[in-house]
Symmetry: C2
Amino acid sequence: MPETSNDNWFYEYFTPDAKFGIKIRRHLVDTKSEFQKIDFYDSYEYGRFFTLDGYIMLTQRDEFIYHEMIAHVPMAVRPDAKKALIIGGGDGGTARELLRYSTIQHIDMVEIDRMVVNLCRQFMPFTACSLDDPRLNIHYTDGVAFVAQSQQKYDLILVDSTDPIGVGEGLFGMEFYQNCKNLLAESGILVNQHESPYYEDDARQMMRAHAKLDAVFGIAAVYQFHMPTYASGHWLFGFASDSVHPTTDIKEDQWNSLGIATKYYNTALHKGCFALPNYVQELLKNTGMQQ
Amino acid sequence: MPETSNDNWFYEYFTPDAKFGIKIRRHLVDTKSEFQKIDFYDSYEYGRFFTLDGYIMLTQRDEFIYHEMIAHVPMAVRPDAKKALIIGGGDGGTARELLRYSTIQHIDMVEIDRMVVNLCRQFMPFTACSLDDPRLNIHYTDGVAFVAQSQQKYDLILVDSTDPIGVGEGLFGMEFYQNCKNLLAESGILVNQHESPYYEDDARQMMRAHAKLDAVFGIAAVYQFHMPTYASGHWLFGFASDSVHPTTDIKEDQWNSLGIATKYYNTALHKGCFALPNYVQELLKNTGMQQ
């Protein structure tokens, strides 16, 4: 829950007994859409940031980490990808990274909340900068319904979702993943926001997501990255496919020959980030009973 | 600086404009040694934790990450190591991990502050549990002076220091590292607490430390780990040697045959954790002018 005290600190509670505080320069937007509470802030340490239902979605300072890791990991395995589906991602950061590839011809981005996109266009030009690229098609509708009805085939599906509560809930369901799989072309890859292993509630969501990806896909791997403004700083994406493996099928030389300048991602890190701590591996192994 | 407000939250300021809050069950110790301010707490989310000059040193919940990563990375490269020097490490966690190896015959631990060790014996039995092992010799003296005077040879030197302010300052100096190098036996390894790349002050210390290790040792590598209760959650150790390389010289099969159960460390993660993000590599490359 958000809490802005008199001296202008925003707090995100990681748990009821641990919180992260950001000193606010200005509370830019305090509103509510049809779907969720939306707040935009300007801060001293992290620049602009916004929250949905009180949870930090991105900050200007570290969004590059999340967006590079959701996009370039699958692209280094499938640098020939032409068609992609983004579920969520209303800030535009994930689309921005994918659109850096000249080989990407078409992206469908399915964002339920038009207000998030409009506010990001206004206040987050650093992520929204590619939203008018002619290769990008924004659909303001429910991602769960979209994947149930679509007849398209995609090389990549990137699930850039909020946490699995409220509006994001359906994006962590078995049917959703099954429908995504049906939309993948040959050698297709799904990457999803996979929560965090550290705090108990996040770890439970991580296990729920993994149990389903593991049931639906032949390959269901998990990779980690350092995200300073997310709870614990230890965050994960899932990498799921029926035929391509994230580290043995990486096209390292081909990706490096593209000359895509990145601040976080590189192909050595790509191979390293799938090596998870033992305690995380244990949690992921014990997902059998999670629903 | 520490700040415990009326409703019993401890705050560590990562920067003047970002802070981390832990709800306190009990403030166990509030004292000052000859060297530093010392506070021990019991908390709801992290169990017991203690701070020096207001900075979190360890929490019961995540200390295993730090202590496994400082000890097992060099031990997997030198599983034959017999003699080790620990600089700092008064809580006992680093010694605890090293003493799990039956091959380790002798450890000198040089801790300047006897009060830290005594309080950890009382309140942190989970890290202090091996402090009475007959292979461990505790020297209550200044680590900088110790390495300048010692005539011993060590297979490993682990610099488990506080931040390079106040009492820890000398542990980040060129002379200190040069003296450490002189104490290393053939194929010896130095590992040091290497700060964090994210917040500006931490990154400056990281660059200072790296500039010196790089000047003194033939091999000066850096590895990362996820440490939820340290600023940004993105923390580093340095790995320095004149002859052994952290990833190409790892004795993977030998280490795995030892059957040492770990919660964070494993040899795949060992090889992965030296792959650093581009922005961190850039900072480390640009250390030439740092003093």
